[in-house]
């Protein structure tokens, strides 16, 4: 089994980049065309079904994209296996935790906000 894949990571990095670009453009368009953001309007937007889904997708793409980036940096600069593997594991755990945290946040407000 190959521990690190070549093309798969490269494609994933680009696909997540595209997802992030599209969502950022969507967000920017909403901000620029709508009225200025208040707590009420932001809360309503973020807790609507597609708002919540898009936020979760955004963070998922962000975490995956970041994972590949960090992994590349580690592969380039950090060669000692004793350092490399724990570091990669740590980053993976942190990114996963951040993603879970975002899901929990959205779930809490989704239920609470209706």
């Amino acid at each position: 089994m190959r521990l690190f894949l070549g093309q798969r990571a490269w494609v994933l990095q680009r696909v997540t980049a595209l997802v992030l670009l599209i969502l950022l453009a969507l967000g920017a368009a909403t901000l620029l065309t709508g009225p200025s953001l208040s707590y009420g309007s932001w809360h309503a937007l973020a807790t609507s079904t597609h708002g919540a889904v898009l936020i979760v997708v955004f963070f998922a793409a962000l975490c995956l994209h970041g994972w590949i980036g960090v992994r590349d940096i580690v592969l380039d600069y950090i060669h000692a296996p004793a350092l490399r593997l724990p570091l990669l594991a740590l980053v993976a755990v942190i990114l996963f935790a951040i993603f879970i945290r975002v899901v929990l946040t959205m779930a809490a407000h989704f239920a609470g906000g209706g």
């Binding site: 680009r14 980049a17 595209l18 670009l21 950022l24 707590y39 932001w42 809360h43 973020a46 807790t47 936020i55 963070f59 962000l62 975490c63 970041g66 980036g69 960090v70 940096i73 942190i94 990114l95 951040i98 945290r101 975002v102 946040t105 407000h109 906000g113």
Partner: protein
């Protein structure tokens, strides 16, 4: 492989190497990526806060009132802008758009300058 030069010196003093503009844009891409990664937990936190209550949402808007936080924010704005522009440049180059040397040099300059201008605008707005 064992080369006869095992233990030989290597010249790799980066300060004595003249980097082309594309390399500088690329180092910026990496650096900005690291900055954005480091601030990712803060972004997740900000999302949570912004949804909690009216005052916490307002507090986020007032983040820039402290100059050191405003400065951090300006740096992050630079990082986001540079990473985004450099990323789009790479995505286009991947499919063969602007991957010729002359165009790639111009677009590397454009990325660096555009990100700089955006950071400057943010600084003028929040730091003065």
């Amino acid at each position: 492989m064992r080369a006869r030069s095992a233990g030989a010196p290597k010249f790799l003093n980066l300060s004595q190497i003249r980097f082309p503009i594309g390399a500088i844009a690329s180092i910026g891409h990496r650096l900005s990526g690291v900055l954005l990664m480091v601030s990712l937990p803060l972004l997740a936190l900000a999302l949570d806060r912004s949804l909690r209550s009216e005052p916490e949402f307002a507090a986020l808007r007032d983040l820039v009132s402290a100059p050191w936080r405003a400065l951090l924010l300006v740096i992050l704005v630079w990082a986001a802008a540079h990473h985004l522009f450099a990323g789009v440049r790479h995505l286009l180059a991947d499919i063969g758009v602007g991957s010729r040397l002359a165009q790639a040099r111009t677009s590397a300059w454009a990325v660096i300058v555009a990100a700089g201008i955006i950071a400057l605008a943010a600084a003028l707005r929040w730091l003065s």
